[in-house]
Symmetry: C2
Subunit: 207 residues, 2 copies
Amino acid sequence: MGRRRTVSAGEPLIWEDDDSLLVANVIEGVLKLTTSTADGREQIVGVAYPSDFIGRPFGQTSAASVVALTDARVCVFARNDFDRFAREHPELEHKLLERTLAELDRTRAWMMLLGRKSAPEKIATFLLDMSERLADNGCVHQPGAQSGPARQFTLPFSRQQVADLLGLTIETVSRQFTKLKADGVVALPGRRDVEILNRGALMALAG
Amino acid sequence: MGRRRTVSAGEPLIWEDDDSLLVANVIEGVLKLTTSTADGREQIVGVAYPSDFIGRPFGQTSAASVVALTDARVCVFARNDFDRFAREHPELEHKLLERTLAELDRTRAWMMLLGRKSAPEKIATFLLDMSERLADNGCVHQPGAQSGPARQFTLPFSRQQVADLLGLTIETVSRQFTKLKADGVVALPGRRDVEILNRGALMALAG
DNA sequence: CCGCCAGATTGATTTCGGTCAAGGTTCGCC
DNA sequence: GGCGAACCTTGACCGAAATCAATCTGGCGG
């Protein structure tokens, strides 16, 4: 019933306010969910990793755009087919409910960050979050490591995208990264590479 | 199976990070969902109106506190009873899924506001949102009015709570209200009363 | 290998909203 | 009706992050 599809980095899969015609499961890669204002400001409202569900079942329109951050493989379904199938399979609806509730919890925790945290707190929280989220998804170059938060990882985001996730500007993000490096809290071996040198300091900064 | 309960204004129903022992349906009144930092900053992450569902089914702990904003009546269920009952009644789970998806959409729209909107935009968006949400719930003093956004209504929030909802300080909220009044966009007949005099101007400000 | 250019950093300056500090209002309660 | 406290408004000032403006870097195509 589903069709495999590849989406290359930067390519959109779903457009904000469009009719909700498809839903999908992420097989590989990372995608962002965004909303934009008329004048072009963007806010990333969610990030989808492998095994995550994307799209808006049981609704006419999609509230967010979905764009691939890395090359990705997804399994897409026509929304109306999916809706019908789901209603006939309570186990599937239950799984979807559990995932949606978990996503709502994560989204609400992010509202705290957007509304009440300072730039240093936002960056520290972000790095710790990435360290945990990326560890579970084979996105990490950490040979022979047991599970748990990753010490070193590659961000699936550009600086601008980090800014769009945290409600900051690219300059502020850059300055905060530089400061963390200068303070010896992290190392930044490449544009998108992060190595956490002092997790305790990051946790203290995250508040 | 459920028990009726009254919760008076300011009284908590569920505590953040506590074991998720109960879920509930709002019958009457308005409640806030909040998260707090260790140092006491608060962010309102959701607002529950009559017919809304509150609590965290299928999860060990609650990610947010729930506190009544007005005197409220709710119908509470033990969470484990509810979980069991829901799994046996797909129609109920479906309804809950639809509501949760809608709440997630609303929450994501609010992230845009928190991360990217200016104080005037936040206040204007808030007032338009309240005008719509309160119209559907008998919270409005508008005799003989047909449905649609309310022109006049009473906020269920203090100034501090508006600040906690928008990620602002109480002083900024107060100044923005004063400015809207001075510009003739709204009238403020009482501490919590709002009358929209120029909806077009508000919509333009909301962006 | 070199030049190009998108993306990132760095610096100077501005501004919006926060902080600190008084007052002022309203409303419940005696 | 008057008292008191909680809530709200207003003003002066400050500072964090945005904005504006170069410069730098590093990855890629020629």
